[in-house]
């Protein structure tokens, strides 16, 4: 019987510092054993562990189309993430996954997609975006709204520059308050979502801090997006990742197995989801 509690080992291949305040780092992991290699889809997560220090869940930031690496972006905020930030290249870490469900990329085929993200929660949205760009012909118009508190706190800055150059992708970047030298949008994500004209026949994926999700979803309804075409990814404290340990439930749903991806239609039926 497969023991899902036992992590397999991966090696830290590359580390990127994402923000000048040193709170955000991205880790590219490579497989040590070929048989550990797993298939996944954008939106799924893994439990990332450092033996002796503990385990934390993170959304997979790489796309399934990126061969041989698994990418995570980690905000330094607690004891495990602190230890993760101390990692050096070539260090060994433990991974369990892929866990949870995914954004419905099959349903998106041939359709327009809007991606709305906030802060360092852009991880699984990066996975989704790269996945769609790598299979560009399968999808219609792609629009991205990405907000951060200030210009320093965007993750994947180098890639954003590349995305800005593309003509098959509309990118709206916004920061909370005006900053000298910033020539893009200013304002919170819900406000910007209302201002840039979105086509409500598209599919929409929202991921960000809980407060951003809470205020962005009603705006989408206002614009005319039907609930079943809006998807979001929820965050809860997940320990086991397989629906046993009991702490990530919202109503009768467990974020680790029934989610983390839920449609707005589902969310409205679950008390306490937002």
């Amino acid at each position: 019987m497969k023991n899902t509690y036992i992590p397999f080992q991966m090696k830290v291949k590359k580390i990127y510092m994402e923000s000048p305040d040193r709170t955000l780092k991205t880790f590219d992991l490579s497989y040590i054993n070929k048989e550990d290699k797993f298939d996944f889809l954008p939106g799924q997560f893994c439990e990332f562990s450092i033996l002796g220090k503990g385990e934390s869940p993170f959304g997979i930031a790489s796309s399934p189309t990126e061969e041989d690496i698994i990418k995570f972006t980690v905000n330094r905020t607690g004891s495990v993430t602190n230890e993760i930030h101390y990692l050096q290249e070539d260090d060994i870490v433990g991974i369990r996954g892929p866990l949870g469900n995914w954004y419905p990329v099959e349903k998106f085929k041939g359709q327009d997609v809007v991606i709305i993200g906030g802060g360092f929660a852009f991880t699984t949205l990066r996975s989704l975006l790269i996945y769609m760009l790598d299979n560009r012909a399968d999808y219609g118009k792609i629009t991205v709204i990405y907000g951060a508190r200030n210009p320093d706190l965007f993750i994947y800055k180098e890639e954003i520059k590349e995305w800005e150059k593309r003509d098959d992708l509309t990118l709206h970047l916004t920061i909370d308050n005006p900053v000298k030298g910033w020539d893009k949008l200013t304002g919170f994500v819900p406000t910007v979502t209302k201002e840039v004209s979105l086509d409500p026949t598209s599919w929409c994926v929202v991921c960000g801090p809980p407060i951003m999700i809470k205020y962005t979803l009603p705006v989408l309804t206002e614009i005319g997006f039907p609930d079943e075409k809006i998807y979001t990814s929820l965050e809860r404290r997940m320990k086991c990742g397989i629906g046993k340990c009991g702490r990530c439930n919202i109503g009768s749903k467990y974020v680790c197995i029934d989610g983390p991806v839920f449609s707005y239609e589902e969310i409205k039926k679950i008390p306490e989801a937002l």
């Binding site: 509690y5 503990g54 397989i242 046993k244 340990c245 009768s252």
Partner: protein, 341 residues
């Protein structure tokens, strides 16, 4: 049905020990709990509800998931004999079926190996459960609310009734039938003794308080989710979590690492939704920061969410939480309050 004379009981247990690790109620000081016995003399058949439930045989309060060294990870090896549990009551045998739903699969998920809990399954799948009938239920027992009863056999392999001189055995599951058919030295119970069981059953049932009709509980809990009744219910609760620790069906756990340098272990420990840090995320975000939200979570999980996923209430009416609650928050009163709201 076969019988074992009380004078032969010790011998019966000794025989059982040859092929099984035997667990039974053992009184240590003032508290009784299910423990692995050394000899039949350790067993206390008089205590009805052990203070802590026998779930800890299969799902211990602290359990090593794996040990690690520089070389790799290893799952600790377990006692190779299967478990036999003597003296479980109906409220506890039923709880094992519920826990098996949680640990043996995942609700509405495809039946994949990844959702099976190997630590639970290796202990539970081969165990032999002896369910001892309750001749004198306690005032805190309310198993009849959940269609259980002092002589109900659900969840057991072998059902046992204690009479004046004998233990009368009845096979319930296939595993139980096999065990009894291999049990050569046993005598058959006489018709007179079998009739006596009916009498004992009637007496036992008369001890229980009147059955409450809880058919509306599932819908009612959903209906009142947003009502101020939860503040009333939670007002007394001190969030100590004692109810969850003695509960035979509560199964939430925490995972934690203990170690130094390259050596250590990952363990899982009982946890409870009553604690504020249970849901607290590293960012500081806490979906259930208020006591009311946590009390509601526990009640809802028992009488609504579990029903949603597994078609039954996550409660067997054992009454342990009623006994241990330091502020006398009686779950039976809570249920009545909800139904009549």
């Amino acid at each position: 049905m076969i019988k074992v004379k009380k004078s032969e009981f010790n011998k019966f247990i000794e025989n059982l020990q040859e092929n099984y690790s035997v667990f039974a109620p053992v009184t240590d000081g003032k508290a009784t709990a299910f423990k692995k016995i050394k000899s039949a003399d350790d067993i206390n058949n008089k205590v009805l509800n052990t203070k802590r439930s026998p779930k800890e045989i299969f799902f211990p309060q602290s359990e090593v998931l794996f040990q690690y060294t520089k070389e790799g990870m290893e799952v600790p090896k377990r006692d190779e004999k299967p478990f036999a549990i003597w003296g479980m009551r109906n409220c506890d045998t039923k709880s094992l079926l519920m826990l098996d739903k949680v640990f043996g699969e995942a609700h509405q998920m495809p039946k994949k190996d990844m959702y099976k809990d190997p630590y639970w399954k290796e202990k539970y799948d081969n165990c032999l459960v002896f369910n001892l009938a309750c001749n004198e239920p306690l005032s805190t027992c309310f198993c009849n609310w959940f269609d259980g009863g002092p002589f109900d056999k659900t969840g057991s392999d072998i059902f046992v009734v204690e009479t004046d001189e004998n233990y009368i055995f009845e096979a319930v599951s296939d595993k139980g039938k096999k065990f009894l058919s291999d049990f050569k030295t046993a005598e058959n119970a006489s018709d007179k003794e079998i009739k006596k069981i009916e009498k004992l059953k009637e007496t036992a049932e008369s001890y229980l308080a009147e059955k409450e009709d809880i058919s509306s509980l599932f819908f009612k809990t959903k209906e009142i989710w947003d009502e101020p009744i939860w503040d009333e219910i939670a007002a007394k609760c001190v969030n100590c979590g004692a109810c969850a620790f003695v509960c035979p069906t509560c199964h939430c756990f925490d995972v934690s690492d203990e170690g130094k340098g390259n050596k250590g272990k990952r363990i899982r420990l009982w946890d409870s939704c009553m604690f504020a840090i249970f849901t607290k995320e590293a960012s500081g975000h806490n979906p259930r920061s208020q006591s009311t939200q946590r009390v509601r979570q526990r009640v809802m999980h028992k009488y609504n969410y579990f029903m949603d996923n597994y078609d039954e209430h996550l409660c067997t009416g054992c009454g342990r939480c009623v006994v241990v609650c330091p502020v006398n928050l009686d779950i039976r009163e809570v249920i009545k309050k909800i139904i009549n709201y």
